[in-house]
């Protein structure tokens, strides 16, 4: 029975040169870049690596350390925080 990786496209096919000729290697595809759901721009400071590598990374290297970091862009987070501040009752 053919292995799963040869049938599906979740694995990227990379041809590698060997002494006997070329050989196809099946590699996991990288995840897409994160985007802000409000402004649509790509998120800065969020690495584009497989979850296996993310597990080994420190928290501060995975996302910006401000509120909404890694979820919203800085512009969108400022708008959101401003809106919340105007509703504050001290």
């Amino acid at each position: 029975m053919a292995p799963h990786k040869t049938k599906s496209r979740t694995f990227a096919r990379v041809s590698k040169r060997t002494i006997s000729g070329t050989k196809t290697v099946y590699n996991r595809r990288k995840p897409k870049l994160g985007t802000c759901s409000v402004t649509g721009e790509t998120l800065k400071g969020v690495p584009r690596v497989l979850p296996v590598k993310l597990r080994k990374m420190a928290i501060s290297k995975k996302r910006p350390s401000r509120p909404f970091g890694g979820v919203l862009s800085s512009k969108a987070s400022r708008i959101e925080i401003k809106a919340r501040a105007r509703k504050l009752e001290l």
Partner: protein
């Protein structure tokens, strides 16, 4: 005036975002000194959202005074402590033979022993002169 001393604000940028602070001092047209739930630091007014409320504090008030004023509002102030540096124990490398390796420091005094450039040039000139003397004259 929005950038007046005692004005409560919410920080909207950086790691202290979404935290309440108070303007302690006005340093420049746009730059103020803040303290409160945030760290005590300089801040651009563009990174602050001013609130309608103000509290009574003197210009350049200390952290303790700000803490008192915040306690009246039932708010806590961020307390930061300087890190105490602790000296680590040095690792000792042990060979396979069981002996301890010791790094031998290079003597910096050797550099000073090297002859200076002038001395080198003088020596070279002397050698050239002696060679010229030794050469036989053409007949």
């Amino acid at each position: 005036m929005l950038n007046e001393v005692g004005r409560l604000c919410v920080k909207i940028a950086g790691r202290d975002a979404n935290k309440v602070c108070v303007i302690v001092d006005v340093l420049d047209n746009n730059i103020v000194l803040i303290d409160g739930e945030t760290r005590r630091r300089k801040c651009n007014m563009l990174h602050l959202e001013p609130l309608s409320k103000t509290i009574d504090i003197a210009k350049g008030a200390s952290h303790a005074e700000v803490k008192k004023a915040f306690a009246a509002l039932n708010m806590e102030v961020l307390e930061t402590k300087p890190k105490n540096s602790v000296e680590r124990e040095k690792k000792i490398k042990v060979n396979r033979q069981g002996t301890v390796e010791k790094k031998v420091k290079k003597d910096k005094s050797k550099k000073s022993e090297k002859p200076a450039k002038k001395e080198k040039l003088e020596k070279a000139e002397k050698v050239e002169k002696t060679e010229k003397k030794e050469l036989p004259k053409k007949e």
